[in-house]
Symmetry: C2
Subunit: 336 residues, 2 copies
DNA sequence: GCCCTCCGTCCAACCGGTTCGACAGACCTC
DNA sequence: GAGGTCTGTCGAACCGGTTGGACGGAGGGC
């Protein structure tokens, strides 16, 4: 059942049906009614592939995710769900493409087969080859996270350096003198993962300004690693009284380690950082932390992308978000 | 840059290029080499929409997910990632379509616009309208979870009734006499969500067989609810010494409630159930539980779907998985 | 040398839409 | 009543692939 069938039954030409549907040229009321009746009766819907071919656009976005093997964090999952949601408000579909590892076939297929109108990249490295690939292919894209040259593309990100700085000041104001940053994994840092690097430098700079003694550790994205990591911290720097973290996956392990060490939060030890809000609230006690506004970021990313698709030559835009630190109950005055 | 351009530069007709690419007819070695050179030089890749239109298939699957507002559980997330992964091994792309709430436009668009070759449905209700819709549209589909009439479609599921039964026997063997099932939310049960209903009936039947006193409660999919729910259990049935659960989201709250009540696991209280393996291991202590094999299920679902797409008239097949209970450390002998 | 086969290639139709230019007829104007 | 505009519709080209039938030429059998 195609547009020709509808045209035949309504006694008009194919183009008239097309115009009736798109409204791009006027159609008499009587004809429109006849056409709509036939369409309703037959349950006709235009074939998406044919339309995409003719229009030169697919009404589809690609969301490039890290491969499943590397488990997604809560923040990342928030992005996926929210991007799909935001795209739906523009009547766009979302194609999920793994990239990295041996999954670059999917990425290539999507990029080069004109399968989508635009791409949203997440888990961006400071110098990301996929960005170069998309630029070369001149396919509109927006990144969640940003590469080193901030003017080179459209992006949305949270200002990790600034948020971590605020965390440090918050702890300093509470009297803490020895603090530690629990970062993401070694591998990510080595690969040039922006948030990890920006968090680290923001942390050290702010600690320096306030005259604090600061240490940083990398911790694999797993609960068990969080436990081991904290025990190492206690062993190497027993004087530390507060931690800042951006490693969500390590939180359960961290929690267990704290209990195991008999430390009360925030009585004996304070914790803060940049964390998905939902996760911060399920910590015990709820974490004082900057919540990553995944939903807002996803919405912004999709809006930026839609804009770029409409006008690929417009200047790049970006949004650097700095959500307030939500004061919950995991930080307190130092009294050891 | 299209197939005509390649043909021109290689000095052959468009069809020859097509045949060289698909291998559906023999092409002389010399011609093939010339064509491949031009293709490599220009970085040509066939336009996916045009190919889809001509071939009548899109090489794309749709994965229908619950809307983002209803947060995805860990098990569900495992499905999404694993389905994408499994589809990639068949060189298929995955379109993510929210359904339910006000997102049925996406579902309709995908189903009726011939946008995909097949659909994977998750979060199936015992009597799911989407199943009927897909049948009517005669679009191949596979469900993760199964509707009431098991022969009506192809599906893969875990045998919740059986697994919960095993959990009950396990607890009974340990001497527990009063147990409770912490189920998913009221709404899901009311909507006819299969796992919740099958878990419940399996639980009650098994408890009856073993002569145990059994209670069931529904608990919203949130940590806070888990806490409240456990406190209610302690209040209403203080004699209960063990819980079985399929509610992952409630686990953190449950954990907090146990600590708050000063209960040692498994010394004072045992917990088991059907849970994503990763989550079971991040509980403290690690949960003795049947791990939902999300990866295997996703792989099976994709395989079944690919099979159905190839031969839509083949009889329906299904897989009902019964993973062993992984013995960890959250269950012990009753001694109160 | 003739006929048949087979191999490699080409032409043209087709998939199902969109869109541009043309045009018939109604209506207005002078 | 001739000429001009406006409205609604149609025909045909086009998007970029795939595919079936036709066809020319090389090679083999007689």
């Amino acid at each position: 059942m195609n547009i020709g069938e509808i045209a035949k039954r309504a006694g008009v030409s194919r183009s008239t049906v097309s115009y009736a549907l798109s409204g791009k040229r006027p159609v008499s009321a009587a004809t429109a009614r006849r056409i709509n009746e036939v369409i309703a009766e037959l349950g006709y819907r235009p074939n998406a592939s044919a339309r995409a071919l003719a229009e030169g656009r697919t009404r589809t976005l690609s969301l490039v995710i890290p491969p499943a093997s590397r488990r997604l964090t809560d923040v990342q999952l928030g992005f996926v769900a929210s991007v799909v949601e935001a795209a739906a408000t523009h009547d766009l579909d979302v194609l999920l493409s793994p990239s990295g590892g041996d999954h670059d076939r999917s990425f290539e297929r999507v990029v080069t087969g004109r399968r989508v109108d635009g791409v949203i990249l997440m888990e961006i490295l400071l110098d990301d080859p996929r960005v170069a690939r998309l630029e070369q292919e001149s396919l509109p894209f927006v990144t969640i996270g940003h590469v080193e040259r901030p003017g080179a593309s459209s992006w949305v990100d949270v200002d990790y350096a600034e948020l971590i700085t605020r965390c440090v000041h918050h702890l300093a104001d509470l009297g803490h003198r020895d603090i530690v940053l629990i970062n993401r994994s070694d591998e990510l840092v080595a690969a040039g993962y922006g948030p990890a690097l920006r968090a680290s430098s923001g942390f050290l700079t702010a600690a320096g300004q306030r005259g604090l003694t600061a240490h940083t550790v990398c911790c694999p994205d797993e609960p068990a690693a969080g436990l081991a990591c904290f025990e190492e911290i206690r062993h190497r720097w027993p004087e530390v009284t507060a931690a800042v973290t951006i490693n969500e996956a390590a939180l359960p392990g961290l929690q267990r380690a704290l209990r195991h060490a008999g430390l009360d939060v925030p009585g004996d030890f304070s914790i803060t950082g940049v964390i998905a809000g939902r996760l911060a609230e399920s910590f015990h006690p709820p974490l004082t932390a900057a919540d990553v506004p995944a939903e807002e970021m996803a919405r912004l990313a999709v809006d930026l992308l839609v804009e770029r698709i409409a006008d690929p030559d417009a200047p790049h835009r970006h949004a650097l978000l700095r959500p307030d630190i939500a004061l919950r109950s995991s930080t307190g005055a130092r009294h050891r």
